[in-house]
């Protein structure tokens, strides 16, 4: 036991590999939130009046929510002072960028350290990367090739300028401005994010990818992503993140909205590896995210795949509204909490249309003092005849000071529905570990293998490049662990 506990200790105390701060002059507004700050953000981004009005509507609603910051999640943190947060920060624009050579070399070096060099990406992988550095997109690649298919993939602020009609008709259609405390805050102050539109019948020829980074100190990131897949189209979107090491907590309250029209499919994948805080639980990112997809059309499909290994606190429920008849929702999740990380994550599947289907596979791994909660809702409305849901939520415990919790809510109002939920919680099998060790596999490798096997059902849903990254991430995270 002592052998394995020391291995565990190492896991729990592993250094955050991606901790560094890029020193770039930031163009920030002073900390604090007021109508003036919102007007400033809107003005800096040269937004149309309707968008400013929408932001202000959200802000005024947010003020009424002062006492309504959610407390029901199984996470604990000191109250956030929303007046201490800088709501806008952008790298100073030098001039219009024509090529990657003009991008701040320090910024490029940052990506280099993260192993996602834009040049590399562009040249080798065929992945179009819309890199979001703090809050403003600085480089977008592969635009031409996408344009050929009529696909719009750009920064949110750019979409507001160039495709206002599209943005206006879909913004807030899945996550309304009054949805919840953090989504409302985001609606008021969101800085930038990505916008994707896939036209009718188009199959997006490449994986679309955005790397987010939180950089300027004290800057909450308020991303807003909107993806619209028109009838019969297909898109796979990747989101991945790392953040520099820092002492002060940083708030990240993003909103992601997906709309899939008839027969369209959206596959949304995330690898999240933000700073989890030190072993005492100081610092680290607060990741309070609202992600929701609407299967608006018949036979449309939305799947969420996430690998959550970072953040001090994760509060995140990527959801599907299955409105169209025969639409399909899926949620595949791996959440790892070590040190003093806390995660309360899961999904919501709203079955509204007939013969709608949903699948939930959630794998939670707890180590150190980590607390991992699965919280999910499966709701079958009265009209959702023939609806089908299958949920499986497994937890793996590595160490005796961590916790794994499962809170599934099943609400069924139609007798023709079939809903199944199962969950298991256990530690790594001693016999499995023994078997591997006996064959000369080091304990660390054995644990990594077993954990990767435990997560296989989720990892295989990730696009190839991501699957490799995710596997490495779990490997690194679990270097020499388990009891």
């Amino acid at each position: 036991m002592s052998r394995t506990s020391s291995a565990l200790e190492r896991l729990a105390n592993r250094e955050y590999e991606y901790g560094f701060v890029t020193d770039i002059e930031s163009d920030s507004v002073p900390p604090g939130l007021s109508e003036d700050v919102i007007r400033t953000i809107s003005k800096k981004k040269n937004e149309p009046d309707w968008l400013l009005a929408w932001r202000l509507k959200a802000y005024r609603h947010w003020l009424t929510l002062a006492d309504a910051e959610p407390t029901w999640a199984n996470v604990h943190y000191d109250p956030i002072d929303y007046q201490k947060i800088v709501y806008y920060s952008a790298p100073r624009p030098k001039k219009k960028l024509e090529s990657l050579d003009e991008v701040d070399p320090e910024l490029l070096a940052t990506y280099e350290k993260l192993g996602i060099s834009l040049a590399e990406q562009k040249r080798l992988t065929g992945v179009a990367v819309d890199a979001v550095f703090d809050s403003v997109s600085v480089a977008t690649t592969f635009k031409k090739e996408l344009e050929k298919h009529g696909i719009i993939f750009c920064a949110f602020s750019e979409a507001v300028q160039r495709h206002p009609e599209l943005v206006r008709s879909y913004l807030g259609s899945v996550v309304p401005y009054a949805d919840n405390f953090f989504a409302t805050l985001n609606s008021a102050v969101f800085s930038d994010g990505s916008f994707v539109y896939i036209p009718k019948g188009v199959r997006c020829p490449m994986e679309l990818s955005t790397y987010f980074r939180i950089n300027a100190e004290n800057t909450g990131q308020f991303e807003r992503t909107l993806i619209v897949a028109d009838e019969g189209s297909y898109v796979s979107y990747l989101e991945g993140c790392t953040a520099p090491m820092r002492d002060e907590n940083q708030l990240h309250a993003a909103v992601v909205e997906l709309v899939a029209l008839g027969d369209a499919e959206i596959k949304y994948s995330t690898v999240q590896n933000w700073y989890p805080g030190d072993e005492e639980g100081r610092g680290g990112i607060y990741n309070f995210v609202t992600k929701r997809g609407k299967c608006a059309g018949a036979r449309s499909k939305i799947s969420w795949t996430q690998v959550e290994t970072g953040s001090a606190i994760t509060w995140k429920y990527p959801s599907c509204i299955l409105l169209g008849d025969g639409s399909i929702g899926a949620f595949y999740s791996v959440a790892l909490t070590a040190r003093r990380q806390q995660a309360d994550t899961g999904t919501k599947m709203y079955h509204i249309g007939k013969n709608t289907k949903s699948t939930i596979i959630s794998k939670g791994i707890s180590a150190g003092h980590g607390q991992n909660s699965y919280r999910g809702l499966v709701r079958i409305n009265k009209g959702a005849a023939g609806a089908r849901n299958y949920s499986q939520c497994d937890s793996l415990l590595l160490g005796d000071r961590c916790g794994a919790h499962t809170f599934p809510y099943l609400e069924v109002m139609n007798p023709s529905a079939t809903v199944e939920h199962e969950a298991t919680t256990s530690k790594i099998g001693e016999d499995q570990l023994f078997y591997c060790r006996q064959r000369g596999i080091s304990e660390e490798d054995a644990i990594s293998m077993i954990v990767n096997g435990f997560c296989k059902e989720v990892l295989r849903e990730l696009p190839m490049e991501f699957a490799v990254e995710a596997q490495n991430l779990l490997g690194v995270s679990l270097e020499g662990s388990v009891g």
């Binding site: 029901w72 079958i380 009265k382 937890s395 415990l397 590595l398 160490g399 005796d400 000071r401 961590c402 916790g403 794994a404 919790h405 499962t406 809170f407 599934p408 809510y409 099943l410 609400e411 069924v412 109002m413 139609n414 007798p415 023709s416 529905a417 079939t418 809903v419 199944e420 939920h421 199962e422 969950a423 298991t424 919680t425 256990s426 530690k427 009891g483």
Partner: protein, 444 residues
Amino acid sequence: MSRAETQPYLERFRRLEPSAAEPTWLHGMRDAAIERFAEFGFPSPRLEDWKYTSVRSIATSDFGGAPPARNPFSKRDVAFSLGGDFHGRILAFADGRYAPELSTIEALPEGVIAESLATALAGRPACIEPHLGRVATWDAPEDAFVALNTAFLGDGAFVYLPRGAVVEAPIGLVFLGLRNGAAPISQPRILIVAEAGSRATIVESYAGCGPDAYLTNAVTEVVVGAGASIDHVKLQCESGSAFHVSALQAQQSRDSRFASHAISLGAALARNDVNARIDDAGAEAVLNGLFVASAAQHVDNHTEIDHAKPHSQSRELYKGILAGRAHGVFNGKIIVRPDAQNTHAQQANDNLLMSEDARINSKPELMIHADDVKCSHGSTIGYLDESALFYLRSRGISAVEAREFMMRAFASEVTRAIGSAPVRTRVDELVTARLARGAPLEIA
């Protein structure tokens, strides 16, 4: 909920005249409890534990009308509750008050006590004081009904099993509600103390009749000593217009076994809390439940198994059959505390939705703080297997019969786990009658 709704109860509490026979510590406990109740009010759906159950209809009715002067029940009503084959001691209660004329004083092994709580409070307060009001919790808004019961605590049952006592015949506690009273409230309190190595089966049976509403608010506290084994059966067959709220809390010592079989067939609104706290190593808890609801019935089952110590195990199976516009709720919580290594916990909740308008909210929860555990839960919701129905139909069995047949089979997984044969037989009879009738049963 508004404080105004607690007023009638607070006033009635002020008018309460404590009996001189009661020990004084009981007065202090009642005072503390009414204070808690006044503070909490009736539980609001804003509380997570009451999310799916609104008790507005209870809170806004003024339960507490005087029970009829003369006991309106007969031994036939008792036989309805426990069946004809029941040969054990029976304590019967009419509207919450002990009714000796309906009770059966079968001999019990030496030292075993089964008497009315009022008698025990007067006669042997020292046996009761260490346990009463200390096993069930009533210090959170979720437990407002337990606080209310404690505030008006006066009668109920006291069962005591001395060290090593084995009672073969089950002990029956029968609670009969309303024949012609005015919105009466019955708040029985049951205390079961099983000393080390003792063993018994205890049946609580609730039945009622009449078109008018009444409220049962029962609290059962069970202390299971080291190596003791208690089989507890609760048969809830209240009338269709009744409100039934009950809370059972078991506290388990080393190597003890506690099994609860909660059968819920009646009442317009039923809320059952069954909690087991495993306080020492090696204990086993079994929580089984069956709920059948139709028309506009609402039935809510909350269970919690708290594995506070290592090497314990629990098994839980709750099954629901919902028809008409019925609304079923299952919330099962399994907690494994940081020290409770080597815990095995298994939980399952299966539900049948038999009509377009029936609904179910199922929430099986695991909260695990130890690593060397094997815990699992599962929940299913659906309709009867169409191919099995077709098989029966193809053999000339009518659709109605085939459905009933399959519902009985579905229910039998719970009922057949009841150890005592006469009790199991009566439960099966009542379940069968309930399914055939499609509405709550009433005592004839």
